[in-house]
Amino acid sequence: MNKRDFLKDAILFFPAAGVLQALACKAEGKELSASATTGYDQAQHWYGMGVDVDKCIGCNRCVEACKAENHVPDEPYFFRTWIERYTIRAHGEVTVECISTKTPEQRLAEQSEPIDPSVLRTFFVPKLCNQCANPPCVQVCPVGATFQTKDGVVLVDETRCIGCRYCIQACPYGARYLNPYTRTADKCTFCYHRVTKNLLPACVEVCPTEARIFGDLKAKADRLVRFQRQNVISVLKPDLNTEPKVRYARLDGEVR
């Protein structure tokens, strides 16, 4: 084929392919909108989560539930949500460790360790994707695979994601990981498939002490709205202007 033929074919091919694609799209067009299929209206909601740090007992049940609900790989370095232990000693030394990477046996063995009197304060902090209102991970995605829904949840389209890891670098909270099986970025979705069916996210469902509270910030009467009103609320890294929708109560100033 010479250059002239190639260009002629190309000029014909693109509009023709476009017409076919447009027809195909029209045929399945109705399935593309969420409200048309389920009657769920995204614009009516703006989801958030409250975390009462003083209530977390570090039982790790939320992490296990998240893994079971969302098929997160079992290996102990892939998490959509995880628990950190902060230990603050005299003279201000702070150590942070992720207790979710340990096996239940390891956590049980820790219970027989003697108490350390040099520890001023020690507590657990549940962490997860902050579902930022102004998400840095969405900005950097080169293919538009990660996006914010109208109800304020940041999702990753695994069919578009090219696994470049740019979003993992951009997330200031370390909330994303690369799924080793799909080779795409993965993160907390607030259990989108559950909350749109009026169920609680799996981690909230199993939390024994109600340390996690899920709610809709657009609702007038809502546990989360009430939680925000009754407590002094802080967010992680407020200086980055990401406007996190995971709101912490009784959060120690040392928590990053």
């Binding site: 007992i57 539930a65 695994e158 749109t196 024994p208």
Partner: protein, 247 residues
């Protein structure tokens, strides 16, 4: 009439431009231009994902007795699937033995939450797994749906483990908790409805730590209460469970 060569070329350019515009705005599907259709499709796919945890309200439909027992007890905030695991498969098919949620009977399962860990919040009931009725399973004394200690706890360390352990290593170890805190009987059964007091008067500490106090031979730190930190109660600066002299 013959069109000049320039006009022909101009015509081709205009035609090409029109073709491009029509292609871009009318022929090319939106999926080729914008990510929005992909994202809408992703939302639909995400919403269609299967649920593993059925939720407490679903369990109630068949297991109302257990649900109601739990509702009146200390485990009222705990979802059924916290202990019994994801139950959506069980809800879908009650007769499937493989999907029947497990009943945990081992000590380790209970100790996952109720074993002593220093980082757990103050007041959360914790036991020392190596001392607390080692040979017995927890469920032989405690009903998991309505857990109540068989006897009213008298040892504060059951819920205030970190404080008890720290105090045990300090010079204040011989002092009973009630030396400084007044604890209503009600606090033992309904902890939050009657909170223990803290000393409101400096006199609580002055009994032992004032220069003029009795038993001058006893080895303990003393200050002149008339001049030392006058307007403050002692525990506003000193941590009485681990006084500075200990380390």
């Amino acid at each position: 009439m013959k069109l000049p060569e320039q006009m022909k070329r101009l015509g081709i350019i205009v035609l090409l431009f029109v073709v491009i515009v029509i292609t871009r705005f009318f022929l090319l599907p939106e999926t080729w231009i914008s990510a929005r259709p992909h994202q809408a499709a992703k939302v639909v796919r995400e919403m269609a994902k299967p649920v593993q945890y059925a939720g407490m309200a679903t369990c109630r439909e068949c297991h109302a007795d257990e649900y109601n027992t739990k509702l009146g007890g200390h485990h009222r905030t705990i979802g059924c699937e916290n202990c019994h695991g994801p139950a959506a498969a069980h809800v879908a098919n009650k007769d499937d033995k493989a999907a029947t949620p497990p009943k945990h009977r081992d000590r380790e399962f209970c100790l996952g939450c109720h074993g002593f860990v220093a980082s757990r919040p103050n007041g959360f009931p914790q036991v020392d797994g190596q001392k607390h009725n080692v040979k017995k399973r927890c469920v032989s004394c405690h009903d998991p749906h309505d857990p109540v200690p068989p006897e009213t706890p008298q040892d504060c360390g059951g819920c205030h483990g970190r404080i008890a352990r720290i105090k045990a290593a300090s010079t204040h170890a011989p002092l009973a908790c009630t030396e400084c805190h007044q604890v209503a009987e009600q606090h033992m059964t309904e902890p939050r409805s009657a909170l223990p007091t803290k000393p409101a008067q400096r006199q609580a500490c002055a009994r032992c730590h004032d220069k003029a106090s009795a038993d001058p031979a006893a080895a303990r730190s003393r200050v002149d209460f008339s001049s030392h930190g006058r307007s403050y109660v002692c525990w506003e600066c000193h941590y009485a469970h681990l006084p500075e002299g200990t380390q």
